[in-house]
């Protein structure tokens, strides 16, 4: 909608140039007072009869460029390959993108496959028409469309062959399991179920591989145990091995004895392993189950998605039913996952019976890890917002609080208020936001998206697959208006709903990170930093001069597309008055001032004539609600956050104040330094002058006068340390040396433990006198447990020379004099 954002709407088939009415807004001709009263009365109470409602061909001015629908930029139909790929991410591309990429792959040069490239748009149209039925096989549809194109073109000879070959290449490249999904009411839920089933299938394959590997490991444990068990042992020598038939394995077996020195596993462990193996083998022999289950209300149309079961339940029992199905499937898998845990612990030798036996008995889905949760068959609860908003809310809230990774798909009609009001004619006041409710549950992944934005929707689906947590998908349906097909076509209509803030897009991903900014994403909306997207409209004034109007695209503009809401618009007469105010400006006015204004939006008829359309107060209130909700989302998403703006301003003010204060301090200090230097200089000069005058000779007086004349007034060189300072700095070293010289001999024996090489020499002499510390290095233990002679002998033997005997601790020990002399070199 705006130049600075992506432009989901298509522009083609230039419609008539819009022309402003002769009463341009700058014209100050006042309106008649009675007319104003009448308009105010209608604005406040639009139920009064009037014939001035805009004609059916009047559209919001901002959408004038899209008056003639063109689906060429619409991503639908989508080409999905539910059976392809093993990454867990559903291969899904807009058909047009796929066609272009494939043709460029086999015909990269400009002249290659020229006829096919020239008629690619027509081929797309043919496929698009054929794909209106959802779930059509892509290859078959492409084949039929290609044949139709060949018939239409009626080429002969080399041209026909070239086109046929190109079509055949496309046909060959088309995935055999490819499905085409057009933009329809049920497309998003189909996409969701296909994506979930695809991911679950990939997880099931990985799970089966894990089970197979684990079963192999456990089988090996049992085989090794068998080889230690008399009667079960197999010699296992390969007669075709190194010694061939000449090697008598059985004789060797008898010679060695079947179980000499071998310890077999305890019987209870063996039994546990066999039980686990039985469960794993059962899983391997049974076909993997990853079939999705869709729970929907009986009056919702059946989806009939291949590989997905459908269960019916009332709106108030929908979530309970989904929980029941999930719990049943989880219980089936709990046995397998529990067995895998036991098997893994056994395989790595970490199984502790007294710890794990009891816990595994109560193994349930809450103990599943993320990979296990995602391997469960997906369960989707599908309901419309209108039905869920009533009695279905409490069960939905309970589902989200339960933590079960169940996906709830809620389809929303953007112009309708899901609160039970008459949505066909009532724009609603304060709307009930189911997506916002999901965010308030904090641990639920919320994917508020639109059918017309499959890439955004699938990104949300991908995020919802990451954490093994509940997911809420709130998706604006590819709406048809309440009064029938949208005048602009579904793609434009759906994107207009997003742009008008009727249904903002956002993702809330609790796995996104530690901060809210990482978890909440609003960027996919047009003009995410503005209140409304703005469209620049080129038009002519009444005199025929070109003008450009900046038109915010508001919720009221979107409601003009809804046939049922046209009663909330009235064509203003062709006069200008200060009371006529653009709706976005009225929303920004204080209430008492806004009450005096008549809010309008611009509409354009099919002939290009522009009209100001008065908006009713109920619709104005709905616009205010939409804008306020959008502001809430913006602040949550970090856009234009008032607290942030205020904090930044506060920091900026503080920094500027601090900076100014520092500058002031520096200026004062500089002034003081200059003054002090000046005084020192004068004082020094006076002292030297006095000295010279009193003691100097005429020669020195002359020399001094010359040097003073050449010297700078202030000297700033760093001062050298004075001899006194230098001696002070040296003094500590000298003191240390003196201290070292005077150090007395240690009185007690000690060991430089960090130098000990753990050679056991001292320990072998006396293991109580010498002991090892925590680093297995020797230290003195019980000094009374040994003699001074042992200390001296250990010091002499120690290869690291780290034992210091000290002074004798027992004066009565014999030969002390001799021992002290021997100990001296080791002190």
């Amino acid at each position: 909608m705006e130049a600075t954002t992506d432009q989901p709407l298509t522009e083609a088939n230039t419609p008539p140039t819009p022309t402003l009415p002769p009463d341009a807004p700058n014209d100050n001709a006042p309106a008649d007072a009675d007319l104003l009263r009448s308009l105010h009365a209608w604005h406040v109470s639009p139920t009064s009869d009037t014939t001035d409602h805009p004609a059916a061909d009047t559209l919001p001015a901002a959408l004038h460029a899209f008056r003639k629908p063109d689906d060429s930029d619409c991503p639908h139909p989508l080409l999905v390959s539910p059976e392809s790929g093993d990454s867990g991410e559903l291969p899904c591309l807009p058909l047009a993108d796929w066609l272009k990429s494939r043709i460029n792959a086999f015909a990269p040069e400009e002249g290659d496959a020229r006829i096919l490239k020239d008629n690619l748009v027509r081929l797309e149209q043919l496929v698009r028409v054929a794909a209106e039925t959802p779930g059509r096989n892509a290859a078959a549809t492409l084949l039929a469309a290609g044949q139709e194109l060949e018939t239409e073109l009626g080429l002969n000879g080399a041209d026909a062959l070239q086109l046929h070959e190109g079509l055949a290449r496309l046909q060959a490249d088309c995935p055999k399991d490819g499905l085409l999904l057009p933009l329809r009411e049920d497309t998003p839920v189909r996409l969701l179920v296909l994506a979930l089933s695809h991911a679950a299938r990939a997880r099931q394959i990985a799970l089966t591989q894990r089970v197979s590997r684990l079963a192999g490991q456990l089988r090996e444990l049992i085989r090794v145990d068998d080889s230690k068990t008399p009667g079960k042992r197999q010699t296992g020598f390969d007669p075709a091995g190194m010694q061939g038939g000449r090697f008598n394995a059985d004789a060797l077996d008898k010679l060695l004895g079947p179980a000499r020195g071998a310890v077999t596993m305890p019987p209870e462990k063996r039994k546990r392993l066999e039980q686990v193996l039985e469960i794993l083998d059962h899983h391997l022999s049974a076909a993997p189950r990853a079939q999705a289950t869709v729970v929907r209300s009986p009056d919702s149309p059946a989806l009939t998605i291949p590989g997905a079961a459908e269960v019916e339940a009332g709106s108030d029992a929908l979530c309970e039913k989904a929980i029941e199905i999930f719990d049943s499937q989880a219980a089936d898998h709990a046995r397998l996952f529990g067995a895998m845990r036991v098997g893994s612990l056994e395989a790595e030798g970490s199984y502790i019976p007294e710890r794990h036996d009891a816990l595994l008995g109560t193994f349930e889905w809450k103990s599943f890890d993320e990979g296990e949760l995602l391997a469960l068959p997906p369960v989707v609860a599908h309901e419309s917002a209108e039905k869920l908003a009533g009695a279905g809310m409490a069960p939905l809230s309970r589902l989200m609080q339960s933590g079960r990774p169940i996906h709830t798909f809620v389809s929303v009609r953007p112009a309708a208020a899901p609160d039970g009001s008459d949505s066909a004619t009532d724009p609603g006041g304060v709307r009930f936001e189911i997506g916002y409710l999901g965010v308030s549950h904090r641990e639920t992944t919320v994917n508020q998206s639109s059918a017309a934005r499959p890439e955004h929707f699938l990104l949300g689906v991908k995020q919802s697959l990451a954490g093994g947590r509940p997911a809420l998908h709130v998706v604006a349906s590819a709406s048809q208006t309440d009064g029938g097909p949208s005048p602009l076509g579904s793609p434009v209509h759906s994107n207009a709903a997003v742009a008008s803030r009727a249904h903002p897009l956002f993702h809330f991903n609790p796995e996104g990170g530690a901060t809210w900014a990482r978890r909440f994403d609003l960027d996919a909306n047009p003009a995410p930093n503005a209140a409304w997207p703005v469209v620049e409209l080129d038009c002519l004034d009444a005199a025929g001069a070109a003008k450009t109007l900046s038109l915010p695209f508001t919720f009221a503009d979107f409601c003009l597309l809804e046939e049922g809401l046209r009663g909330h618009f009235r064509v203003l007469p062709a006069v200008a008055d200060a009371h006529f105010t653009p709706l976005p400006e009225v929303l920004d006015l204080p209430p008492e001032e806004a009450a005096e204004r008549l809010p309008f939006i611009w509409g354009i008829a099919s002939d290009g004539a522009m009209r100001r359309l008065l908006v009713s107060r109920p619709l104005l209130q709905a616009c205010r609600d939409r804008r306020n909700f959008w502001r809430t989302l913006q602040e949550l998403g970090g856009a234009d956050n008032e607290h942030v703006t205020a904090a930044v301003q506060r920091e900026r003010d503080q920094l500027q104040a601090k900076h100014a204060a520092e500058l002031e301090q520096l200026a004062q200090k500089a002034a003081a330094d200059i003054e002090a230097a000046r005084k020192d200089s004068v004082r020094g000069a006076m002292a030297r002058l006095s000295e010279l005058l009193l003691n100097g000779t005429p020669e020195t007086l002359r020399a001094t006068a010359l040097s003073l004349a050449n010297s700078t007034p202030i000297e700033t060189t760093a001062s050298e340390p004075t001899p006194e300072t230098a001696s002070e700095e040296v003094a500590p070293d000298a003191g240390e040396a003196a201290e070292e010289e005077a150090a007395p001999e240690p009185a007690a024996a000690y060991i430089d433990s960090h130098l000990c090489t753990s050679c056991n020499d001292c320990i072998n002499l006396n293991s109580r006198l010498f002991v090892y510390n925590a680093d297995k290095q020797a230290t003195i233990g019980d000094i009374s447990a040994g003699t001074f002679a042992q200390l001296v002998k250990a010091a002499q033997k120690c290869p690291s020379r780290c034992i210091h005997p000290g002074k004798p601790h027992n004066p009565d020990e014999p030969n002390l004099e001799k021992l002290v002399a021997q100990a001296k070199p080791y002190q």
Binding site: R469, T757, A774
Partner: protein, 318 residues
Amino acid sequence: MLSLKTDWSLDVPPKYYTLEDYQGGEARWCTGCGDHGVLTAVQRICRDEQLAPEKTVCVSGIGCSSRFPHYMKTYGFHGLHGRALPVACGVKARRPDLHVWVATGDGDCCSIGAGHWVHAVRYNMDMVVMLFDNNIYGLTKMQSSPTTPMGFKTNTHPRGVVIPALNPASTTLAFANVSFVARTMDWNPVHLHATLHKAFKHRGLSFVHIMQRCPHFTPGMYDGLQHDPSNLLLLEHENGVQIDPNVAKIFPNRVAHDPSDIGQAHALSHHETLVAIGLLFHDPNRAVYDDFVQQGIGSTATEKLEGLNRAFDEFAIS
């Protein structure tokens, strides 16, 4: 999520390993043997790094020092003479999750195992190789080894060895794909521990030449270095072996050496007058063979067969 998960309940409680958890049988080396110090240093590193004993393997060949695995309460492989390195490579190739320590002597590695030495260094698989160099065959009672100095009398050279000794560090530096070469000594536990720890932290084959005293057959061989540290040259660098400054003070000769400079490492490894100690060479970016040989680990027999069949199918003639 939602504080509901009880995965923790199935975790094995973390165990803190003490030095005793790594102490195997009582070491039967001679008293005063330098091997004791190396054993303690390795046990301390295992404890400090909290290596699970069941995830640690000591591999050795034949010789005094090769009794090392018996004294470690971990998995061990007391292999054939000269074959410590190929066994260790085999262990690492199939069990990359294990920490591998190799104990080998100057006879085991530099003589009968020299061929394996060359290629193990070239494979650069992730392990610590400790060369216990006591300059003699001790276990077989004093025969000349490749590192026995010229003139030293042994049972095989009663009038003294007549050819120059091999220098293990400088030799290793010449091997292709060498990534870590250090030299230390058993009598300075601080330097020994720091060097082995640095070696453990290196991903690749860390070759540590340990000058090791043999009090029985080569007593006094290293006295000149042990009692006069001025004969040693301590290598210092921010990327080298870091030791306590108080311990470093005992080495009067020190030189700054960037371990990435292999040219200077060569020169220092056979310094004319001094014996350089510390990290001679380190290049953490050399190719590690582990990355290539571990493909397919964990595959079941069925998967292996399928892979083999797919490979064969590429050569099928239709």
